[in-house]
């Protein structure tokens, strides 16, 4: 695996920070070095929110991803526009296609358009699990952590009273994973 | 032979550096006697200010800390939170408490810190040489208000007891003076009561002592005490401003 640099970006409230946290947690459970680095400040209150997650077999240098990203998840258009250029060669752009689209083709990257909002709304009655659907696509698309580790991470992140959220999260994750598997 | 008078053991033998006629000596003794009578000298910790009483730690014969200017109530908060079973006092002048340390005294009072503050109000900065204090009376001369305090230019004095009694945190607030023997007796009663209330853990207690500064007022000690009675006390009326123990008794 070596080092995987992932950027999750969207509006505040879309769950970009928590999808990154689940990924980082899974990496930690597998014994990798991980870091989770959020944007912080006024934008937390409804503006853009993003976090950078690094999963690596070596001690992590910069926790901020400004180049050579392996994966960018863009949950809305401003995030796509802001972060598409940090993708490195053969990087994967995962787009919440209900709210964003890549305007100009880019060389050397792979793009997955996933209607995550619509999929979440259809299955769960709202867009709240779009982030986990996209996370499923991430795990299918790049070499980071196993599906089992993500399941493990769910049980750590959703503790106690929050455990009731685990089944839907697992389901959403699987939807995204399978969508990416069948993507052409 | 019967002992008819003995100096309190809660004061050291260090010679006081205060000017002739200064009331700090009287108030030090009242605080010391009150603690001794309550058998709390062994448990007492005093936070002393910046100002004339900056060396009060040398005179009080119990644990003491010299604080930054105005911060004694904060420092005392730190001490009391570590040792809730000890008697923690602050001893502060008017510049320290009512000017640079206004935030600290208000918030210690509002939090209901279980400490006792002794506030010496003589309406002047003594240690630095007679500058205008937050409690300098209108018309009263100071080296930074040479023609006398003009509220239009210099603003108005602060009545601290009145201000603090608007808060819910304090449980006992009294203003006393030491310009007559009867006032001295009452002052000691107030200090002792405040300490007793602290010992019961009821809340924040505060005793203001309207005092004098013959040196910086440019008056003899006797004239200075007259000034206290004739000018200071009418502006800063003596009496109990808050006492939840009295309310409980009703």
């Amino acid at each position: 695996m070596n080092t995987q640099r992932i950027c999750c970006a969207g509006f505040g409230g879309q769950g970009t920070l928590s999808m990154g946290k689940i990924l980082a947690y899974a990496g930690m459970l597998e014994g990798h070095e991980v870091s989770w680095c959020p944007s912080y400040g006024p934008e937390m209150r409804g503006g853009t929110a993003n976090c950078h997650v690094i999963v690596s077999d070596e001690p992590i240098g910069s926790p901020v991803v400004t180049s050579d990203a392996n994966c960018v998840i863009a949950m809305n258009q401003p995030s796509l526009d802001k972060f598409v250029d940090i993708l490195g060669k053969d990087g994967v752009l995962i787009v919440n296609s209900d709210l964003a689209a890549l305007k100009e083709d880019k060389e050397d990257i792979r793009v997955l358009n996933i209607p995550a909002n619509a999929m979440s709304t259809q299955e769960f009655g709202g867009a709240k699990l779009a982030n986990i659907i996209l996370l499923g696509a991430v795990i299918q698309s790049i070499n980071t952590v196993t599906v089992e580790s993500i399941d493990d991470a769910f049980t750590h992140v959703f503790e106690g009273g929050k455990a009731k959220f685990i089944p839907d999260n697992k389901k959403a994750f699987k939807m995204g994973y399978e969508f990416a598997q069948n993507y052409k | 032979m019967a002992v008819i008078f003995q100096k309190t053991k809660a004061l050291t033998d260090v010679k006081l550096h205060y000017c002739p006629g200064c009331a700090h000596g009287i108030v030090h003794r009242l605080v010391a006697e009150a603690l001794e009578e309550l058998d709390e000298v062994k448990n007492a910790i005093v936070a002393v200010p910046v100002g004339c009483s900056v060396f009060a730690n040398k005179y009080f014969n119990f644990d003491a800390i010299q604080c930054a200017h105005g911060r004694a109530p904060a420092t005392a908060t730190g001490i009391k939170r570590v040792h809730p079973d000890k008697m923690v006092l602050t001893y502060q002048g008017d510049g320290d408490l009512a000017s640079i340390g206004t935030a600290e005294i208000i918030h210690a009072a509002a939090r209901g810190e279980k400490i006792t503050t002794i506030f010496i109000n003589n309406g002047i900065y003594g240690m630095t040489g007679g500058q205008m204090a937050p409690t300098t009376l209108p018309g009263m001369k100071a080296t930074t208000a040479k023609n006398g305090r003009d509220p239009k230019i210099n603003g108005n004095p602060i009545r601290v007891c009145e201000m603090l009694s608007a808060l819910d945190g304090p449980v006992y607030i009294e203003r006393v003076s030491v310009s007559t023997p009867a006032q001295v007796t009452q002052a000691k009663r107030a200090i002792k009561k405040a300490l007793e209330i602290q010992r019961k853990g009821l809340g924040f207690t505060f005793v203001e002592v309207v005092s004098s500064c013959p040196t910086n007022w440019g008056l003899t000690p006797v004239k200075a005490m007259e000034f206290v009675r004739e000018k200071m006390i009418p502006y800063y009326p003596l009496g109990v401003y808050k006492d939840i123990t009295a309310e409980e008794g009703k």
Binding site: W36, T66 | I45, A68, I79, R81, H83
Partner: protein
């Protein structure tokens, strides 16, 4: 203890509790507010005390009182708040009391920004209060190191009787990394027989700050400097990264050293013999790290999130100001890896 994924601000709060700290006095400020938030709920669970002070000034003076009363005590803030605390830090230092102060730095000066910065180096290392004094200053580069350094800070503070500043930044406060908490006191600590506890049947204790006689005050200062000499001899700490064959050395601490570490990866791939000296103590500055390298290194490349506040210390340590090149971003800007790679290539002679 298994590793947990924790935000830096919460992790340092837990570290303090693990190290036996039971008293926190503080004031909210971004980007460190999770420290007081965490401790407000966690300290009472272990019989501790959390007080949200009316101001930074009051908070540090509460720390002064609690330290004088013999407690392990913590406050935390971020740059403008730490500026306000300087008065109290000077008093604590002068009184020879132990206290731990965490600074999650942001961009400055003044209100500045809320994004990560390193421009409080001078305030922490050169002294932001009046008078001759030093703080011990520890500079973590990861959440785990922040945890370890907060724990160590309490021991150093108690051992030497001095304030210890843990100088991190908003990024370390806000980011999550896996951490574990293994507190082991490595110092032999004397009981605090000097503390204000009420004199009981013994002699009274005093915590003093005013020395009216200049000779006496000078002697007091000199006594502090005897302690500082011991600290300089014993407590310098640094990390050497890929220095064995290095011809060039980056010098960087905290978050900026993380960026440099990544940049070195690219530069090594490109064939440059470059490493890094990463100071872990900023005071005492790790001059020992430079002594053995002096002749070998062609250039020292100082990278900071400031306009170069550490440069003079590096120059002093390597004893040749002509060997120093500086690159910095400030005001809350975290440099990108690419910028550091470019800077390195420029200094080391262009593309290989």
């Amino acid at each position: 203890m298994a590793k947990v994924l924790m935000k830096g601000n919460e992790a340092v709060g837990k570290a303090a509790i693990e190290a036996g700290c039971r008293f926190f006095f503080g004031y909210p400020i971004t980007p460190q507010s999770e420290v007081p938030e965490y401790l407000s709920s966690e300290l009472p669970k272990v019989g501790g005390v959390f007080v949200q002070a009316e101001s930074e000034v009051a908070a540090i003076n509460m720390v002064y009182g609690a330290a004088g009363a013999g407690a392990r005590v913590l406050t935390s803030s971020s740059s403008p708040g730490i500026a306000l605390k300087q008065e109290g830090i000077g008093y604590i230092s002068n009184a020879g009391l132990p206290a731990v102060i965490i600074n999650m730095m942001r961009g400055g000066p003044g209100l500045g920004t809320i994004q990560p910065g390193q421009a409080d180096y001078n305030m922490a290392v050169k002294g932001g209060s009046n008078g001759d004094y030093h703080n011990i200053v520890l500079a973590p580069a990861s959440v785990q190191e922040a945890v370890d350094m907060v724990m160590e800070a309490f021991d150093l503070a108690d051992y030497y009787g001095t304030p210890v500043i843990v100088l991190a930044d908003g990024l370390i406060g806000q980011m999550m990394e896996p951490v574990e908490f293994n507190y082991v006191c490595k110092k032999e600590l004397a009981p605090k027989t000097w503390a204000l506890t009420g004199k009981g049947d013994g002699e009274k204790h005093m915590v003093e700050n005013l020395v009216i006689e200049p000779d006496e005050c000078e002697a007091w200062n000199k006594k502090h400097f005897e302690t500082y000499a011991k600290i300089e001899a014993n407590e310098q700490a640094w990390e050497e990264f890929l220095m064995d064959d290095a011809e060039y050395a980056f010098v960087s601490y905290g978050t900026s050293s993380r960026i440099v570490r990544s940049a070195i990866g690219y530069l090594r791939e490109a064939g440059y013999k470059v490493g890094m000296i990463r100071p872990k103590t900023l005071w005492p500055f790790p001059t020992k790290a430079f002594e053995k390298l002096d002749k070998k290194i062609k250039k020292y490349m100082d990278v900071e999130m400031s306009m170069g506040q550490m440069v003079q210390d590096v120059a002093y340590a390597c004893n040749d100001k002509n060997k120093i090149e500086f690159y910095g971003r400030t005001g809350g800007v975290v440099p990108a890896v690419d910028e550091i790679v470019e800077f390195g290539k420029k200094v080391m002679g262009g593309d290989k």
